[in-house]
């Protein structure tokens, strides 16, 4: 395939190595904060939170030599803007077989922006069970919070303007198989993926 | 009503011929020619209009007595006049049924009182339309209403022996049995034409054979007893073929087609809108084609409206719950122009035959259906074939609104209707 310069418009702020380092650091911080990985459950928020959660879990397992349960938590039906667009397709919710009751759940997402997704995820989690604690890990925090929510583990703080869009590409999901985080001009006024 | 007793119709084209003047006086056509002087007559400028003999409908439901919420003799005949009709035959399926001299005389009298068009009651063939016992056909024939057409329309005289007896009996007074050809067993619960579509829509099918089998049987019975059969609302290609064959054999069989069957097809049932629910049902495009051809070659003798008014609630419901039938008087001529004249299948003389001469002949109506000639009764319709009108249900002179043509653009408009020299419609409005 010929090189496609248009495939990555905008400015790349994290390349594959940067992303790998950020996830490794997050993994260590999680272990450190929780004094091990005993009661951990990682739940990725689809789509991009899920492969990130898997990568973090793999790194924790390497260090701690335990299997960390990973699942996914779809927040579609809990979104506060559900009625603003035609009905959206649901994404997978997979709760690891051990459940989440009494566990420390680490929610994993790619970009933390307004905080509304995380608000929805906390509501969704409430219907799944009662964890001992909930923590939040994100690859990028771009600011502009609209709710009192903050991340416990941040790969990179990225100051952005509202006229910009943060685009996260992950090898597991994208056809070109490249990890990258870039900042692009926002194409229109529509809502931005968090 | 106006007191003027004579009308000079200027430069009208009789049956679409050359423009001429027409003087109507004392109930008859007094003079025909160019440059006639008004001489006290009210002048009607008929430039561009066609004169047709007043139309005669052999198949109208006026609903009175019994369903005055749907139509009365007065409102029904007003609609008839707006459609260019000067005579209508009122079907017998009223409440009470027109199966005695008393009821047919009542309907006949109501028609005379309304004055918009002559009403000829149709007598029921069997008591209460029940198909069990002959009604007093002779008494109805001898009554003031002078009934000559007998029909259980809405119901088929399905018992072959009863049908034979009826055909025989009416010979005594030159009557005709107008059969609603529908085998009841083959159409139990039937809702629409039986076709691939009825199967898909889950509406019980109404097979063509249910009509054709009865027509074939009745043609044979008619030939056997030497009587007169009229087939109501022929709707299938097969029926046309059977009637054509009977005529070829010289049997005394006449047939009618309804305007809606000349235009609309069963595809409309896919809307589940009961405005399209009618008995017999709308059929396929091939059937429509065959009916037009049959009407053109004379196999189908006449167009009859089967004007069937129903109150709003009987159509504003689910298909199966709705009543059968649609309005027809005010749109019949336009549909015939659209489907037969504008397509080149029939000229205006042919239209006069199918909508006036022939139905009057079948119904044995003496004062209607005569050519526009000096001395003939002045029953005349003036029609503007160049006009186009958008049909509005709310504009109907009928008490009911169940027209399937609402919103359609149809050619032609009745500008005036004269009944025995007196206008019932003038300038397109009821007088």
């Amino acid at each position: 395939m010929p090189a496609a310069p248009l495939a990555h418009p905008g400015r790349v702020v994290l390349d594959a190595r940067d992303i790998g380092r950020a996830l490794t650091r997050i993994s260590h911080e999680i272990i450190e904060r929780n004094k091990g990985a005993g009661d951990l459950v990682l739940l990725g928020i689809p789509r991009r939170g899920v492969p990130l959660a898997q990568r973090i879990a793999a790194r924790i397992s390497q260090v701690e030599d335990v299997d960390v349960p990973v699942g996914s938590l779809d927040i579609t039906m809990y979104r506060d803007d559900l009625r603003l667009k035609p009905a959206r397709a649901l994404l997978p919710t997979e709760i690891p077989s051990g459940g989440i009751d009494g566990k420390v759940v680490v929610l994993v997402d790619d970009v933390l922006f307004s905080g509304r997704t995380i608000r929805a995820a906390l509501d969704a989690l409430n219907d799944v069970g009662r964890p001992r604690a909930v923590q939040l890990a994100v690859l990028v925090d771009r600011g502009h919070r609209e709710l009192p929510i903050r991340a416990d583990f941040v790969g990179k703080n990225l100051p952005t303007s509202l006229s910009e869009r943060v685009s996260v590409r992950l090898a597991d999901l994208e056809d070109d198989g490249v990890d990258a985080v870039s900042i692009e001009p926002r194409p229109d006024a529509t809502e931005v993926g968090e | 009503m106006t007191s003027v007793s004579s009308y000079l119709i200027k430069s009208v084209r009789i049956l679409g011929g050359e423009p001429t003047d027409l003087l109507l006086k004392d109930g008859v056509v007094a003079e025909i020619g160019t440059g006639l002087s008004a001489d006290g007559a009210e002048v009607v400028d008929a430039d561009g209009l066609i004169a047709l003999p007043g139309l005669v409908d052999l198949h109208t439901h006026l609903r009175e007595p019994g369903r005055e919420d749907a139509e009365t003799v007065e409102t029904g005949t007003r609609a008839a006049a707006m459609g260019g009709f000067t005579a209508v035959h009122a079907m017998a399926n009223t409440t009470p049924v027109a199966d005695t001299a008393g009821v047919v005389e009542q309907v006949w009298r109501l028609g005379r009182e309304a004055g918009y068009c002559d009403v000829y009651p149709v007598g029921a063939v069997t008591v209460g339309l029940k198909g069990e016992q002959l009604a007093e056909l002779g008494a109805m024939a001898d009554s003031a209403a002078r009934v000559r057409v007998f029909s259980d329309d809405g119901h088929c005289v399905s018992d072959p022996l009863l049908m034979r007896r009826a055909l025989e009996y009416v010979k005594a007074f030159d009557g005709v049995v107008a059969q609603h050809a529908q085998d009841p067993r083959l159409t139990e619960g039937a809702q629409m034409n039986e076709s691939e579509l009825s199967g898909r829509l889950g509406l019980a099918g109404w097979p063509a054979v249910a009509e054709e089998a009865i027509i074939a049987r009745d043609c044979l019975l008619t030939a056997h007893v030497g009587s007169r059969l009229h087939v109501c609302h022929v709707s299938t290609a097969g029926s046309v073929e059977i009637v054509r064959d009977a005529k070829r054999k010289g049997w005394n069989v006449t047939a009618e087609a309804c305007p809606h069957h000349l235009l609309l097809t069963d595809e409309l049932a896919a809307t589940y809108d009961p405005i399209y629910k009618v008995n017999p049902p709308l059929r396929s495009a091939g059937d429509v084609e065959a009916l037009r051809a049959g009407l053109a070659d004379g196999t189908i003798d006449i167009v009859a409206t089967d004007h069937a008014p129903h109150p709003h609630e009987d159509k504003d419901c689910e298909w199966a719950a709705a009543a059968f039938g649609m309005l027809g008087l005010e749109t019949a001529l336009s549909i015939v122009q659209h489907t037969m004249v504008d397509t080149g299948l029939l000229d205006w003389a042919g239209v006069a035959d199918r909508l006036s001469y022939a139905p009057a002949r079948i119904g044995r109506v003496a004062d209607h259906g005569q050519p526009i000639e000096v001395g003939a009764p002045a029953n005349i319709a003036l029609y503007d074939p160049a006009a186009t009108r958008t049909i509005e249900a709310s504009a109907s002179a009928s008490l009911s609104r169940n027209t399937p043509y609402a919103g359609m653009d149809l050619p032609g408009r009745i500008e005036a209707t004269f009944l025995r020299g007196r206008p019932t419609v003038l300038d397109g409005k009821l007088v």
Binding site: M77, L82, L84, A89, I95 | G205
Partner: protein
């Protein structure tokens, strides 16, 4: 998706697959401690049942409640044919109550279509079975069941899978909706029954037909048996129930001629001993109980997709 679900023909392949995928996500809800999702909070779903059908009504009710909708059950027994309250007046009442969706079961074919297109109500209309016309959510749950058993591991879902639908096709809304939907999903459908119970014009349906059940059974991946209603037994469509069972019933002997992976379905309620014997209905091949479970998930998916988003961008 369109605003209403009146016929299986309203669904494109993309629509249908979206329903199935959504149902697959929602099915797992049954395993969770809280069997509720907030998607339809504040929405009102009316179950308008002119015919008795406890199982379909309960299925829709459970589906709507699990999505947090308010549910109003309106059992209008007896149809308007008998001059009770008319469909229109009932509809106007529901409109005044602010129904967002009307789930309607009616004895007259096309009644849901009338409800949706007559201007009586603004709500979405879901056909829960109309006369002898259609029952699209039954077809969706059947397709979902087929898909779980035959499709998921294969790309293309039900593409090329063979399904026989056996029995009273003429009067079956289930058969109509299934034939349409399974064709949309790429399956090959064979309608099997005595000639008296196959509709006129079925040649135009783009499905196979057969009068010979024994010839069809070894070739198919699924057999769907239709109920033979009591009133048909007197209708002269076949000589006797005995003869019907012998020619078109699924018994142990016939079941033995099926391929190993072939499943047996029935939309219920079954007439055991008539179209299906007890040993077949209770066998390992039978997915009849699972069909019921899947019904709730599929109806949740339909209600969510019709009501879960904004109304504006749903073209008619």
């Amino acid at each position: 998706m369109k605003r209403h679900l009146l016929s299986a023909a309203d669904l494109t392949r993309d629509d249908a697959e979206l329903v199935l995928e959504t149902a697959a996500e929602l099915r797992s809800l049954a395993d969770r401690p809280i069997k509720k999702l907030p998607a339809l909070r504040g929405r009102t779903v009316v179950n308008l049942f002119f015919e008795d059908s406890t199982r379909t009504r309960i299925s829709f009710e459970a589906a709507a409640k699990r999505l947090s909708a308010d549910v109003i059950n309106f059992a209008a027994k007896g149809s308007s044919v008998s001059k009770g309250e008319s469909l229109k007046d009932t509809a106007l009442t529901l409109e005044a109550m602010g129904a967002d969706a009307v789930v309607i079961r009616h004895g007259a074919s096309g009644a849901p279509h009338r409800l949706a297109h007559s201007g009586w109500v603004r709500s979405s209309v879901v056909n829960a079975g109309d006369g002898t016309h259609e029952h699209p959510t039954q077809a969706l749950l059947d397709a979902f069941t087929l898909w779980r058993h035959l499709g998921e591991e294969r790309r293309g879902g039900l593409e090329g899978r063979r399904v026989a639908i056996v029995g009273d096709v003429l009067h079956s809304r289930v058969a109509r909706s299934n034939a349409l939907l399974l064709k949309t999903l790429g399956a090959e459908v064979t309608l099997v029954g005595p000639p008296t119970l196959l509709p006129v014009g079925i040649e135009g349906w783009d499905v196979e037909t057969s009068y010979d059940l024994d010839a069809v059974l070894p070739k198919v991946d699924a057999v769907m048996m239709l109920r033979v209603q009591r009133e048909r037994m007197q209708g002269g469509f076949f000589p006797t129930p005995r003869e019907y069972s012998r020619r078109y019933g699924l018994d142990g002997r016939r079941m033995a001629t099926l391929q190993d992976h072939t499943i047996v379905m029935h939309p219920g309620p079954m007439v055991r001993g008539m179209e299906i014997t007890a040993d077949v209905a209770d066998s390992d091949r039978s997915v009849i109980v699972e069909q019921v479970t899947n019904g709730v998930a599929v109806r949740m998916a339909v209600l969510y997709l019709l009501l879960g988003g904004s109304e504006s961008e749903s073209p008619e």
